[in-house]
């Protein structure tokens, strides 16, 4: 561990010297560094910070140097994470390429494909989106119908995807297509292509929260060079499932759940009022206490599962409950938050509401997607019942 002892001071020194002060402050949503060709930078430090980190490969610390990564060991990456946390440095890059595509390319792609795509993910030059769900294929993803016909030197893609995150902002897409209509799972392939290709048309979907983070994406006679097929022809389902694992880890550890209920009780005290230090509405208070305890139980479980997985070298079965629990918890938090704010928590926009109140209300609406996206809670429960508890399918 000797070199690790050097690594920490070196890293700390480099971060101190290179991380812009404004990158050590909480990140407002509009400064999220999604990068890509269409990337805009409200705060120039965001770009500066990205480029500095990317140059060291520290946007993808554990990826091989050959592909632009940092080439760090797990332990070194941990140190980097700790040292960034110490100065509250913002993540330099948000990217589905980093979180989802990269890991499967490292596993399944050819050397050419790795060299072609991984470095541009590391630098943020290319922003990726995910072409999975279709109008008729939600929970039953494998029933997807988007066709890719073999035209000799290329595939001709026709069909429609839905829930493609930020497709209108993305440069390239990793896409599940049907290359054999006679079988279900064994007829799916995994394609990569440029969103500027002739015949690709993303249309933003407006959500109940007013945001449009997703698109419907239409493909009309889109020509995709055969070299952009990842893995075997009709072997895409295995890659798809692997990638979904990375996505679920990302969804459940990222953002919601973990931080649930942090300030809920403060909101209740201020909006409902207090009686000798207690939330005035005893019924609501009891339910908030129950939620805070559930939130704590969740955080402790995430920690336990990590510790057990690390120690056992295998993934703890309890991992399977994380996404379901996180979604339930986050939705419950927001329902309590909105209830605690009363009418002040039910504004859409404009005068009469604080910025915080309006943000929480949108967050409440957005949270309804937690139990749907990336596998519905119903599917999660099926998985727990069958894979973990060993219950059988209904005949």
């Amino acid at each position: 561990m000797a070199e690790l002892d050097d690594f920490r001071p070196e890293t700390r020194a480099w971060l101190e010297a290179n991380c812009p002060q404004s990158m050590r402050t909480p990140m407002p949503g509009e400064e999220t560094p999604w990068a890509g060709r269409k990337g805009t930078y409200k705060n120039p430090d965001t770009k500066l910070w990205l480029d500095l980190m990317a140059a060291k490969g520290w946007t993808a610390p554990t990826w091989p140097k050959a592909y632009g990564g940092g080439g760090l060991s797990r332990d070194e990456a941990k140190v980097l994470e700790q040292e960034m946390g110490r100065i509250k440095a913002r993540p330099p890059l948000f990217s589905f390429g980093l979180w989802m595509l990269g890991p499967v390319l490292l596993e399944y792609a050819t050397e050419e494909q790795k060299l072609a795509h991984l470095p541009k993910i590391v630098t943020g030059e290319i922003r990726w989106c995910q072409g999975y769900s279709e109008p008729g294929a939600g929970s039953d993803l494998a029933s997807l119908q988007t066709r890719a016909e073999d035209k000799g030197d290329h595939y001709l893609v026709n069909g429609q995807k839905v829930w493609t995150s930020y497709a209108d902002q993305a440069d390239w897409i990793f896409c599940l297509v049907r290359t054999d209509t006679t079988v279900k799972h064994e007829g799916i392939s995994f394609l990569l292509f440029d969103m500027t290709t002739q015949g690709v048309e993303p249309r933003p979907i407006k959500l109940i929260s007013g945001e449009s983070p997703f698109c419907e994406t239409f493909f009309t006679d889109v020509k995709v060079p055969k070299a952009q097929l990842v893995g075997k022809l009709n072997g895409g389902w295995e890659i798809a499932k692997r990638l979904l694992q990375y996505e679920r880890q990302n969804i459940s550890s990222g953002g919601f759940g973990g931080a649930a209920g942090l300030e809920l009780e403060q909101v209740a005290l201020s909006h409902v009022g207090e009686v000798d230090g207690k939330i005035a509405d005893a019924d609501l208070r009891a339910r908030i206490a129950g939620h805070k305890m559930d939130a704590k139980a969740f955080v402790l479980t995430v920690r336990r599962v990590e510790a057990e997985s690390k120690a056992g070298g295998t993934i703890s079965p309890a991992t399977s409950i994380i996404k379901y629990a996180a979604a339930t918890l986050n939705q419950h938090k927001y329902e309590l938050l909105v209830e605690a704010m009363g009418h002040q928590g039910l504004g859409w926009e404009g005068e009469g509401f604080t910025k915080r109140e309006l943000i929480e209300t949108r967050g409440w609406l957005r949270s309804k997607g937690n139990s749907i996206e990336g596998g519905t809670s119903e599917i999660n429960l099926n998985v727990v019942a069958k894979r973990v508890l060993g219950l059988l399918d209904h005949q």
Binding site: S133, G138, S139, D140, S143, V162, W163, I205, K206, L207, I208, G210, H271, V272, D281, A282, D283, L284, V338, E339, M341, G342, H343, Q344, G345, L346, G347, W348, E349, G350, E351, G352, F353, T361, L365, K368, G369, S371, I372, E373, T376, S377, E378, L381, H394
Partner: protein, 378 residues
């Protein structure tokens, strides 16, 4: 429990036909997307008034039909189904009730016919914070000459922006949370010193914040007795709660029926998703809750018409159970629709948004559980 008589069946059917044809959910979308100032469609409201819905509970002597609250509930249930925005609750239910319970012959003669005819919008201004606390009134009315001067603020007043007549709950004596010392005043919306700010709520209905600065009213503006207004206020609110609960049952029923249809048509894994037992049991439980809540709403409305002595408990019961089931129904509507339910293009979001605002109006489930316990002596 009273079963519907012939007139009531006709009224309900008329309401169902009109709302389905003339006021589908698309009408609310239009109001929302055109940022309507009043929050309702004036032409539609005229239609409704012409059909007599603005005067369902108003005595015939004052131009109403005197059909009672259960009958008004039938109309509200249908408007609830299609999320129809109108002054039914603010004016035809709440304000009309306050005038009928507390108004002098002169006040009733002056205002009830106009309400029954749909000529005016009237609004009750009671809450001053984000949560319903009808006895916590800080807005003051101080004697000046023969009249009074009103100073203070009101929040989230239903149709407060478009109202011609405001019924303002003020404090004429006592401490901030005392029940005695509360007085109701009839205030002309054009009165000097009255400022109104319309709010943009998630359910796209019109509510307003009011600021009263030295608003002068005459002695005959007092509704009921000076310092004795709380009794009228509470009786008015209980009738408003029961009526709103009827609207909520309609909303919940429609949300459930739309969802049930989807369960029957959407297929995944080569099966209608409605064949999955976990969803079947959730649907069956929701149906059970709906039927239980429906009974409470009907009982509360009947109790009002029969002037029985348990109106307060039944009104809290109806509002709380309607709130609980609408909360569940709207959440299940989004979840069981999956991704499509998250899109603004689908109606699920509109039902959920309306649900939460209705839940909070005139006191949420938590408020009414507490009140039910107090009334029960525990």
């Amino acid at each position: 429990m009273a079963v519907l008589n012939e007139e009531q069946v006709m009224l309900r059917d008329a309401a169902r036909n009109w709302t389905q044809e003339k006021s589908p959910v698309a009408a609310l979308r239009k109001l929302r997307d055109t940022k309507s100032a009043t929050g309702f469609d004036a032409a539609a409201w005229t239609d409704m008034a012409q059909m007599g819905w603005a005067g369902v509970i108003i005595p015939e002597a004052h131009g109403g039909a005197d059909f009672g609250y259960r009958s008004l509930g039938l109309v509200l249930e249908e408007t609830g189904r299609t999320l129809t925005a109108s002054p039914l609750v603010s004016t035809a239910l709440t304000a009309a009730t306050a005038l009928m319970l507390g108004g002098s012959e002169a006040q009733q003669a002056a205002w009830l016919p106009k309400i029954a005819a749909g000529e005016i919008v009237a609004a009750l201004a009671v809450d001053e914070t984000a949560h319903h606390h009808p006895s916590t009134i800080a807005l003051t009315a101080t004697k000046s000459g023969t009249g009074y001067v009103l100073n203070g603020t009101k929040g989230f007043v239903l149709d407060g922006g478009s109202a011609d007549l405001l019924i303002v709950v003020a404090r004429t004596s006592g401490a901030k949370s005392d029940e005695p010392g509360i007085t109701l005043f009839l205030v002309d919306a054009k009165a000097k010193g009255l400022e109104r700010k319309c709010l943009n709520m998630v359910d796209s209905r019109a509510v307003a914040n009011l600021t009263l600065t030295g608003v002068e009213v005459a002695a005959d503006a007092v509704l009921g007795n000076v310092d004795g207004g709380f009794a009228i206020l509470e009786q008015t609110l209980d009738r408003a709660r029961a009526g709103l609960a009827a609207e909520m049952i309609g909303t919940a029923t429609q949300a459930f029926e739309i969802t049930l249809d989807y369960l029957k048509t959407r297929t995944q894994f080569g099966q209608g998703i409605g064949t999955f037992q976990a969803l079947q049991h959730r649907a069956a439980k929701l149906y059970t809750d709906l039927e239980l809540a429906r009974s409470c709403v009907q009982a509360a409305l009947d109790a009002i018409d029969e002037k029985s002595n348990d109106i307060r408990a039944l009104a809290s019961l109806a509002k709380a159970k309607a709130a609980d089931v609408l909360h569940l129904a709207s959440n299940e509507m989004v979840q069981m629709h999956g991704g499509i339910g998250m899109t603004d293009a689908h109606d699920a979001g509109l039902y959920m948004k309306r649900a939460r605002v209705a839940e909070a109006t005139f006191g949420g489930a938590s408020y009414h559980r507490d009140r039910y316990a107090k009334l029960g002596g525990f």
